[in-house]
C-alpha cells in the first residue's frame, strides 16, 4: 500500500490543501522562513519517494538543477542586500539575494513536489468524487469527458489506419502530416458528434435530468479519515496562528533578520514538521501495524 491511497479523497484533499497553503503562504518576502520552507521541501520529497521509491529518479536530477538555477538567477537580477560578494559589470551580487534565491527555490520546488504527489494520489475518479459533492452535474460532464478521451484516441488511430489502408493518408513530409491531421480531425468531429447522440439517447433513456441527481461513489469516510483530516486542520491552524503572529518572520533584505526563537516559533516549527511528514508517519504506522499483525499470527 502506498501513502494515502486508501484514504478518502476529501481527507487527502484537506491534507494537501493545508500543507501546500502554508508552503505558499510563506512564499513571500516577509514570512519567508527558511526552516519552514526546507521542512516543506523535505516533507514533499519524502512523500514523493515513499510513493515511487526509485522510479523516475532522473526527474529529481532535473529539479535539483532547477533549484541551483533559481538560486543563482536571483542575485543576478536582484541587487538588494548589504553583504556584497562580487561585482558583475558594476552590479553587486549580494549574499542576501543568494540566500533569498535558495529559499524561494526551496519553496517553489517544495510546492511542485507536493503537487507531484498530489496528482498521483488524486486520480481522476477521486477528483470526481470531490467535485461530485459540489456539483454532480459538473462531475458528470467531467466523467463523460474522461471516458471520451481514451475512446477518441483509439478512434483517431483507427481513422488514420483506415485512411492509410485506402492510400489516402500519407505522413511523408510536414505539410502532408498537417493536412492529414486536419482531415482526420474533421472525421473525428463528425464521428464524435454523431455517436454522442447515441450516448445522449442512452442517458435520456435512463432518466437523466428528471430530478436532481444524487452522486454515488464507492469511497467511504472511515475513522482514519476523521483522525487525519482533524490532525491536518489543527496543525494548519496552529501554524497559521504562528505565522500571522509574526514570530517566525524572516527578512532577507536589506540584511538577514528574524524574530528570535520563542516558544511560539518553536511550536510552529514542530507543528509544520509534523504536518509535512504526516504521510511518512501514516506510512510507517501502517508498516508497523502489519508487522505486528504478522507476528501475532
Amino acid at each position: 500500500m502506498k501513502a494515502f491511497d486508501n484514504y478518502n479523497p476529501i481527507t487527502v484533499f484537506i491534507y494537501f490543501a493545508s500543507v501546500i497553503t502554508i508552503g505558499m503562504f510563506c512564499l513571500n518576502p516577509v514570512t519567508m522562513n527558511p526552516l519552514i520552507l526546507f521542512l516543506s521541501l523535505a516533507g514533499a520529497v519524502t512523500t514523493y519517494l515513499i510513493r515511487n521509491r526509485t522510479e523516475g529518479a532522473q526527474s529529481h536530477l532535473f529539479f535539483f538543477v532547477m533549484f541551483i538555477l533559481l538560486t543563482v538567477i536571483n542575485p543576478l537580477f536582484n541587487h538588494n542586500g548589504v553583504t556584497v560578494l562580487l561585482i558583475i559589470n558594476n552590479n553587486p551580487v549580494t549574499l542576501e539575494a543568494l540566500l533569498y534565491g535558495a529559499a524561494s527555490a526551496a519553496a517553489i520546488i517544495g510546492v511542485i513536489y507536493w503537487f507531484r504527489s498530489f496528482s498521483q494520489i488524486m486520480t481522476s475518479d477521486k477528483l470526481l468524487y470531490i467535485l461530485g459533492n459540489i456539483s454532480p452535474k459538473f462531475a458528470l460532464i467531467l466523467s463523460m469527458t474522461l471516458r471520451y478521451v481514451p475512446m477518441f484516441e483509439k478512434q483517431t488511430q483507427k481513422v488514420i489506419q483506415a485512411q492509410r489502408g485506402l492510400g489516402l493518408y500519407s505522413d511523408t513530409d510536414f505539410m502532408s502530416r498537417v493536412r492529414g491531421g486536419t482531415r482526420v480531425f474533421s472525421v473525428m468531429v463528425t464521428w464524435a458528434l454523431e455517436n454522442g447522440v447515441i450516448t445522449s439517447d442512452s442517458m435520456t433513456a435512463r432518466g437523466y435530468g428528471i430530478t436532481k441527481r444524487t452522486f454515488f461513489s464507492i469511497f467511504k469516510f472511515r475513522r482514519q479519515d476523521i483522525i487525519l483530516s482533524a490532525a491536518s486542520v489543527i496543525l494548519f491552524l496552529i501554524i497559521l496562528a504562528g505565522v500571522i503572529s509574526g514570530s517566525v518572520n524572516f527578512k532577507f533584505y536589506p540584511e538577514i533578520s528574524y524574530a528570535g526563537t520563542t516558544v511560539i516559533s518553536v511550536i510552529t516549527y514542530i507543528a509544520y514538521g509534523l504536518l509535512a511528514f504526516l504521510p511518512a508517519f501514516t506510512e510507517s504506522g501502517e508498516e508497523l501495524r502489519w508487522k505486528y499483525l504478522k507476528s501475532r499470527i
Binding site: N28, F115, I134, F138, V189
Partner: protein, 228 residues
C-alpha cells in the same frame, strides 16, 4: 451552495464574477496586503470564482445533448494535440462558445485545462489555465453574434484570444516566481515570451482558417438533425 433567484442577475453575476471581480481582487490583494503572498490570494480567488461559476451551472437545467457536446468538444480539444503544431484548445473553446454558447465555451476551456493536466501534471497553474481558457470561451459567447457573421472576425478573435491566454499565463508565471509585481518585470517577461506567442498565434490562425467553417457546418448539422 448559494442560490440566486433572479435569473438575469444570476446571468450577470456569472459573467461579472470571473470576468471583472477576479482580476480586480487579485490586483487589490497584490497591492493591499503587500505583506502576504500574491500566489495564495490569486489561487484562492480563482478557485472561488470557478466554484461560483460551476454552482451557477449546476442550478441551470441543461439539455442532455448540450452536455454531450460540451464533453465531446473538450475531449476533442484534449485529443487534438496529435496534429503537429496545433494546440486546438483555444480554437475548440472559441468555436464551441460561438455555436453553442458562452457557458459551454467556458466549460470546454476550463475542463480542457483541468483534464490535459491529468497527463501533464496538476499544479498551482491549473486554476489559472482553467480561468484563462474559460474566460476566452465566455467572452467568445458574448461576441458570438458578430463572430458567427464574419469568418475574419472569428479568426481575429481566435488569435487575440491566443494572445490573451499567453498574457494571463505570463502574469501568473510572474506571481509564481514571486517577484514584486512591477510593470517593467511584467513587460520584460512578455518580451521574452514573444517568439512562443507568435508561434502560438500562428497555429491558432492556421487552425481557424482550416477548421472553423467545417466545424460550424458539422455543429449546425447535428443541431438540425437532433434539435440540440
Amino acid at each position: 451552495m448559494i442560490t440566486i433567484k433572479n435569473a438575469s442577475l444570476r446571468k450577470v453575476l456569472r459573467i461579472a464574477i470571473p470576468f471583472a471581480l477576479v482580476p480586480a481582487v487579485i490586483v487589490a490583494g497584490v497591492y493591499l496586503f503587500k505583506e502576504n503572498s500574491y500566489m495564495l490570494i490569486s489561487v484562492a480567488v480563482i478557485i472561488l470564482s470557478l466554484l461560483l461559476f460551476i454552482s451557477g451551472f449546476e442550478k441551470k437545467k441543461t439539455g442532455t445533448r448540450r452536455l454531450i457536446i460540451v464533453a465531446i468538444m473538450t475531449a476533442l480539444s484534449v485529443v487534438g494535440r496529435f496534429i503537429p503544431v496545433f494546440k486546438p484548445v483555444t480554437a475548440m473553446t472559441v468555436i464551441t462558445a460561438v455555436y453553442i454558447g458562452g457557458e459551454a465555451g467556458f466549460l470546454v476551456g476550463a475542463m480542457s485545462a483541468l483534464i490535459s493536466n491529468f497527463w501533464f501534471g496538476q499544479g498551482p497553474w491549473t486554476p489559472f489555465q482553467m480561468f484563462a481558457w474559460g474566460m476566452i470561451g465566455l467572452v467568445g459567447g458574448l461576441l458570438s453574434k458578430y463572430l458567427k457573421k464574419s469568418r475574419v472576425a472569428l479568426v481575429i478573435y481566435g488569435v487575440v484570444a491566443g494572445l490573451a491566454y499567453s498574457l494571463i499565463m505570463d502574469f501568473w508565471a510572474l506571481i509564481w516566481n514571486n517577484e514584486i509585481i512591477s510593470m517593467e518585470a511584467y513587460l520584460a517577461s512578455l518580451v521574452t515570451a514573444i517568439p512562443y506567442t507568435i508561434v502560438y498565434s500562428a497555429s491558432n490562425l492556421m487552425f481557424f482558417a482550416l477548421l472553423a467553417k467545417p466545424f460550424g457546418e458539422k455543429l449546425e448539422r447535428v443541431k438540425l438533425k437532433y434539435g440540440v
